[in-house]
Amino acid sequence: MKKLDRYGYAFIAPFWVVFLTFSIYPVFLTLYYSFTNYTGSPGEEIVGFANYARLLTDTFFIEAFVNTIKIWGVNFALQIGLALLLALLFSDLRLKLKGLAFFRSFFYLPNLITISSVALLFGILLDWQHGSLNMMLLKLGIISDPINWLSQPVTAQLSVSLILTWMWFGHSFIIVMAGVSGISKDFFEAAHIDGANRWQMFTYVTLPLLKPILLYIMITSLIGGLQLFDLPLLLTDGIGAPDGSLNTMVLYLYNQAFKYNNYGYAAAVAYGLFLITLVFSAVVFKGMFRKERAAQKGA
């Protein structure tokens, strides 16, 4: 019996070797670096909490945090709204829309394109002088001068949000759709008999039953969103232009480490980011569940 136990360990050993070397070790190495002034070559000195003290007062990091939340927030609202709307249309008993399988993969397609291609594509579409978007708006007479989308903070942030929405609404739609299909038809029929209209059915039946699914989407999207990096890097000059509006937390981390060689400080930024992610996830999780428990008690 005991002998067999050891085989088990042997089988999981390869995973652990890799996991410890490539995941756990770097995590602790980063923690160590965050207390040093490491610049990429050996000879670093321990500087205590200096990097963390700087992080707390770093206006660029705070700006990056606000930017990241803004960009993610707009994207998430649109993404989940669109996903819910589509799920509602496709699950409506009276509408009986066809082609769910086709649309499911069709909406998911943008997610399969590599992010650099997406950035290139939208870079051309949003181009100031020669972009298709401006050409179209000019032809329609909506604007008289081309808008330089990526050179103004508001439009640049909005552009990134919308690109993210375009990339991810299909993904959310599939998950929401799965959640909706899991709701027993009996609820809808009962609500229908009771005279509920579509909006009431949505708010009193669909939404409450979808809560765990929505929570899942929100947490995964939030964690992904807080790590927003590649689009801002590729769309403009890589340091957050225009006027720091596309400076996100991970982009800031990347620039501090690999462009300015402040590895020690970048490590502190990484841990700051980790704590923020942790706090946000906890808040979302708690908030969702407390309401649920309250609801259960009430019932």
Partner: protein, 437 residues
Amino acid sequence: MRKLVSLLSIGALSVGVLSGCSDSEGGTSGSNSGSKDDVLKVWSFTDELKEPIKTYEERNGVKVELTIVPIADYPTKLKPALESGVGAPDVFTGEIAFLKQWVDAGYWENLSEDPYNVNEIADDYIPYVFDLGKDSDGNVRALSWQTTPGGVYYKRSLAKEVLGTDDPAEIGDMMSSMEGVFEVAEKMKEKGYKMFPDEGAIRWFSQGANPEAWVNENNELVLTEDKINYMDYAKELRDKQYTALAPEWSPSWFEGMSKPIKVKEGGTETETQVFSYVLPTWGLHSVLKDSAKDTAGDWAVTNGPSPYFWGGTWLGVYEGSKNKEAAYDFVKLMTQDEEFLTDWAEETGDVLAFKPVTDKIKDDFSDEFLGGQNNYEFFLGQADEITPGIVTKYDQQLDTLYGASVLQYVEGKKTKDEAIAEFKKQAKNAYPDIQVD
């Protein structure tokens, strides 16, 4: 039996997992096996060295293994190898963007010492090129075969029509000061042409007549009067509509080289042509000749208000190499071998930094693309005027940060003072140890 099967499968699994890792980690580093001494390992970020390596292999009978890592990953891949010495190259190249950092990091062998003593041939090189390979103690760590001074490439047909001449010397005279450049720009505008593709084009002249390093010996940030004036020049270019609003490397920037392009400003759309592009030596071979095939022969190159250089590749011997002699032989071939360098220059048109060769070949050079102009002589003249000793390891990033701030001012989003303040704040943030007033 069962035991054997389990052991075998564990073995197979671990091999699979571990080889999976080593694959992603060292996919470009080639094989590390075999005795190290008969293979010379060279790392670079372009395939430029393929030809010289062939020559080297033929001459010395030593096998060379070239590893090419794309420029974006080059420093991140190379650094760990150099730090640990595991899988490290014997010879590696460095681009101007990180050259200054690397010469001081001690990765390259000190070439000023025995047995190399390169200081003895210092006079054979273009001064600024030789100087850039020195560390902060003045020891040479890396050499370069090329020099990459810049000029202003313009279209001869437009020059003739608007300025009455297409002679590079005469046009160079007209553009020998910023005021001169703006006069030409105004004339171009009157005829419906645009002087430059975008206002970033003149950033190379932002140093003015008295170039200074971004960071001085006291570790202070230096924002010279000339660099501040550059902000106004850039804004003037934009405000007076002297540019085609085609940012560098954008599709329209390339299009403007050979075709009329459309510009939308002030509620109207006009079709126009771009008169000139500010590019260095390599701009001719890697940019213009590729993207302006239709207008070949209609180009010429001349000077702007001040000499400048853009880019360049240096190479040296890895300090931890076990094969230093062979490694330095390769560096020598690339930077001092008259026979090889003569062939190289004639084949590629690369402007060399090694004077014994350039003195011999510069007089009878001419380029069809430039209407038969001898661009070699022109560039060598420019290279000699470049002030050595003003490049710092901060340049690449500070230039980017400053450029972003200038753009804010050009587009009217910030006042001049705000833009300067923002730049200083950014500079301080990127490099906390620099003194910023």
